[in-house]
Symmetry: D2
Subunit: 355 residues, 4 copies
């Protein structure tokens, strides 16, 4: 029951949506790494809402303050703590809000787990706001990885049934990764953007929301990382990615598509290319026996539709112990998939620091 | 890089396919639990090959010997170690086998990771045989869970594109779980069995193999287990399930299907039923905010086709550093999905002991 | 290489002496616990310097700000983060200070470990200031433990060779624990206070420092906590206590004195007392086979003399690569033993939360 | 509550004194290491009883059988499991033995913890026999460390008040370490051996037992290993050493002696010697700020007298709930200190593999 993750590089995320602040402690970073603040801000900005019809019009400053672990912009090797103050803290008593749990949210389950003592305003510790420190932590980790030639980039694979092209998993260009990992609405095929945005807008006008899929790739990993069984790269990445709220599934390589293939199709044949062992296809997503094979690691994660919708829904009244109706107030993202890309990339970066 | 898993109940799996033996240490079991040996053998038998056209005709005795942690059939609270001796150990020098890695296998990646010192005969530590101790460990854990009213059962959701019915996720009968969790070829709708077997047989005659999907359900879990972010039940189960060789994806509830739903459809409305809070649908798979909501936990895991196929495949010769051809010798399961059901149930049981 | 500790309750300490701030994240606290702020301040105050000749005259505000995990004074169950801002941050470039490492300090070893990138001003992450968040975290944990009847109290067992009485380990009064655990200079026998203070003052006038021993007791623990081998209570407490800078040894019960005893003396005979099993002596310090026996847990930890002394010492100049002389500037505690009592109690409290 | 230890190299010890077997799983060993079986047997033999008046005349074969992780004498990188079969298993029903717990033993505390379901015959999982797999695991780890120039050796510092010389902590000869780490009764000054043996024999004739102290040194460690706070080398070693039954205290360098020193004495002055930074004294035991300084790491651990004595002792009868008398039957070591040296060296080796 923990917001702490990792063995070699541990991150410990804290905060509640309307508390005094949110943040992260990153323990185990190497010393002597010069953090590129500009590039960190690009990542933080990708996750931040605003400037875009697909995300919420609230203004929010996600600029974190580094409390420790950095001296003159360079990591000291001590735990790095970064804090984002909430300007938007609780006012008044929210206790009576907790009568009608929002469907699709953690309201009810957190109520049971914490005996009603959890902070429910704005979702508390379960708020999507908590992904801001994750993106910050991942933003540092990805810079360290890039120095070793390892790059991470994702795109919106699908929103509301509208699909982007997929990565060509045997041949992912470094420039494509660079482009995707700096955009707020990253797509391989930009021609689908308008359709996706229209679908999101349509849902918004219906007081509803939509889900989607993020596809993420890692290039530059050497062969031989990971291990058998519970030490496998799939399990490592999955346990980090399921830390992202709203993720309900993950598949590597062809994933669920493998169920309909034969071994002669799904097995990736080896061949020599420029003296290196490569595979002709990459159905395994760059991982065999839990260990990287130096091909791109490719996975897809599905994101459920934003549960906060203005449309009236059935729920219960926990005080009166009867059925009830609920319309979630406030302005909420009708689609969090574009913002989720940066969060998933970030969690992948943190995960890979543990290899 | 570890074959050890868990916090409260730790399992440590060891062994190589053709070494002296394989086994597991289970640390953290409660004392005073009377193990039902007959029911344990049912589970071990479900995973064991033989007696069935879908699995390999090799004879193998998977009867484990308990070395410690049990006195007169009752757990002592000390670590339980169980060992299965290999009757079928290495003979001769296999070193020269390692020239041509089998596509879809860990041969190449393990070779890189272990600098060629890994035991490759029969797949070594990466062999599917290593799932035997997992099923044994899970078999004990599930008995302990059942005493608390928690039951785990899975079925073959799909083989070679042929589909069984899905669980009705709001209403999973205890008797259905009992039936599925004792069968070697568990199906909700037995009428698809023949089609599935035919598809497997067809692949076998083609010197090929097929993959599939396992759907697994847990009933009887109380609400409030799990936690936010990295403490979520999805991440916990996923990290255990990806420990099973050949699993390449996992989805909870509607999973990837959520990508095409709207929030108003995917949110599970709450209602009172007999004084208990339930949900009318169960698209979230029994988990909200990483925490159980007392509805059945339902997930699906995809299993890639058996990589060992007799059909000729392209590979490389690592000694001569050139491309090569390979036909995998020996008799191999053309489809491991039926056996995988018991392994996935077992890993789920071990995972749930950590809640 | 980690400032994170614990399994069930994890603490993650961050900060550097002259950075932006120091603090702690505590993950795994129960929800619904009302924190007694006054009693927390007593603990924080015991560790804080000032008001006492044995400690440094610097003014320092150790009042932490709670960022998360607490709502209206009650724990929410989410990670609790508390931050103490540094008012006294770095000014100027300290890089050239790192030429002559202070004997007895981490200066040299941290320089090697972090390749010179660590923050050395004020000791950086190795500063005794980092014990402030520990005392804060322990202060909350001890309140939770006290609700279960478990109390922790320590005293200055020895300073500069001058000894306080020892606990009577079979009979430790709750009122004694209450008194000791609220005092800044806790002694069982207050008549030795003056002698101890004089010894400290003498050292100070000599531009020197003194060490000592802290004895700590825990009462109210039930029998049966802990476990064999690496799960033992001794190892658990020791690994937490060695997290306190300057601790170089720990012994439980008679500890090193056992070396000169015979089994017939050291074995603690059992007897019934008021229907409960107790021991007539308590040479084992309340722990047998790594497991509590319901007698008081008693241990002693030694504290080395403050390494920062004004007296000239031999050292090296790492730039010029030659031997050098050094007098440590600034005002430093000539004896940290009194303040260490509260830190050791705090770490014990955190450790016991993991049982 | 765990017999599992370690992060990078995990050991998982299992078995009960009179069960089917005892053993260990070592996960995380490097691949390609050729195990020197002869030298491993030397270590196993040092711990084994027999051939010596100070230890028990029971015959016991501690030759472990390697089940996995080794191929042709070379580590494969997969988990290494080694099993020692018990030839001396339970016969009859020992249940009624558990009425009168032996003073100084885990009988009572294990009874409470495991609700009476633990295996008590021969001490069960708490038996000193469980140190055999520890010595085996440590024996492999020390060979790997030696290849990196790191050597571990201990000696009997004290038995029954009779003292051996101490290490000169600034100058520990590799040959001395080699000699000590191969002897069954290792002493720096062999002239005290007879006195020690006489004291042990005297205790034996008195139906009693004696305790002692082991001093252990590690040479060849580079500077910069370990970390601040809970990542310190002292805490790491201590948590491993307290896994050894009968250890009740540990001190590094001057340890408790530091309490009576001044800072000007206890601080170890740095100086250049042959271009390397060394310290003139080594009161800190080679560790500053939790990090190695390349001087020898030196620590002492105290061992309580063997609790099993033939002399009549007071105890309780847990069935009749009254006081009782007990003489422990069977032949027991009157002094386990000589055998403990090899166990402490072994645990140190395992601990250092985690740096």
């Amino acid at each position: 029951m923990s917001s702490t993750w990792g063995e070699k590089v541990k991150i410990s995320v804290f905060g509640e949506s309307h508390g005094n602040g949110i943040g992260v402690v990153i323990d185990g970073l190497p010393s002597g790494f010069k953090i590129d603040r500009e590039r960190l801000l690009v990542q933080v900005g990708r996750r931040a809402p605003g400037g875009d019809l697909t995300s919420t019009p609230r203004k929010e400053s996600d600029l974190p303050k580094i409390m420790s672990g950095v001296l003159n912009g360079v990591t000291t090797g001590a735990p790095l703590c970064a804090v984002i103050k909430n300007t938007n803290t609780r006012s008044g008593d929210y206790a009576n809000l907790m009568t009608c749990p929002r469907p699709g949210h953690s309201d009810y389950t957190a109520f049971v787990k914490y005996n009603g003592f959890n902070d429910i305003s704005g979702g508390g510790h379960f708020s999507g706001r908590l992904t801001a420190p994750l993106v910050f932590a991942g933003g540092i980790c990805r810079q360290i990885l890039e120095e070793k030639g390892i790059k991470i980039g994702g795109h919106i694979s699908e929103i509301a049934g509208i699909r982007d092209k997929s990565f060509d998993p045997v041949n992912i260009d470094s420039q494509l990764i660079d482009r995707l990992s700096s955009e707020k609405f990253p797509l391989i095929d930009k021609s689908v953007e308008e359709k996706m945005r229209n679908a999101v807008e349509e849902a918004r006008l219906d007081l509803d929301s939509v889900g989607g899929i993020v596809e993420c790739a890692v290039i530059g990993l050497p062969a031989g990382l990971g291990g058998p069984m519970f030490g496998g790269v799939e399990g490592l990445i999955a346990s980090a990615i399921f830390g992202v709220p709203a993720v309900k599934g993950i598949e590597f390589g062809k994933g669920f598509g493998l169920a309909q293939m034969r071994g002669s199709q799904s097995n990736d044949p080896f061949e020599y290319s420029d003296g290196r062992v490569v595979t002709k296809t990459n159905n395994c997503g760059g991982i065999l026996g839990g260990i990287t094979n130096a091909m791109p690691v490719v996975f897809r994660a599905c994101i459920k539709p934003t549960p906060s919708i203005a449309k009236e829904q059935d729920t219960v009244d926990l005080q009166k112990k009867c059925n009830a109706k609920l319309s979630v107030q406030g302005r909420h993202d009708p689609c969090i998939v574009p913002r989720a890309v940066s969060v998933i990339e970030a969690c992948t970066a943190v995960a890979l620091m543990n290899l």
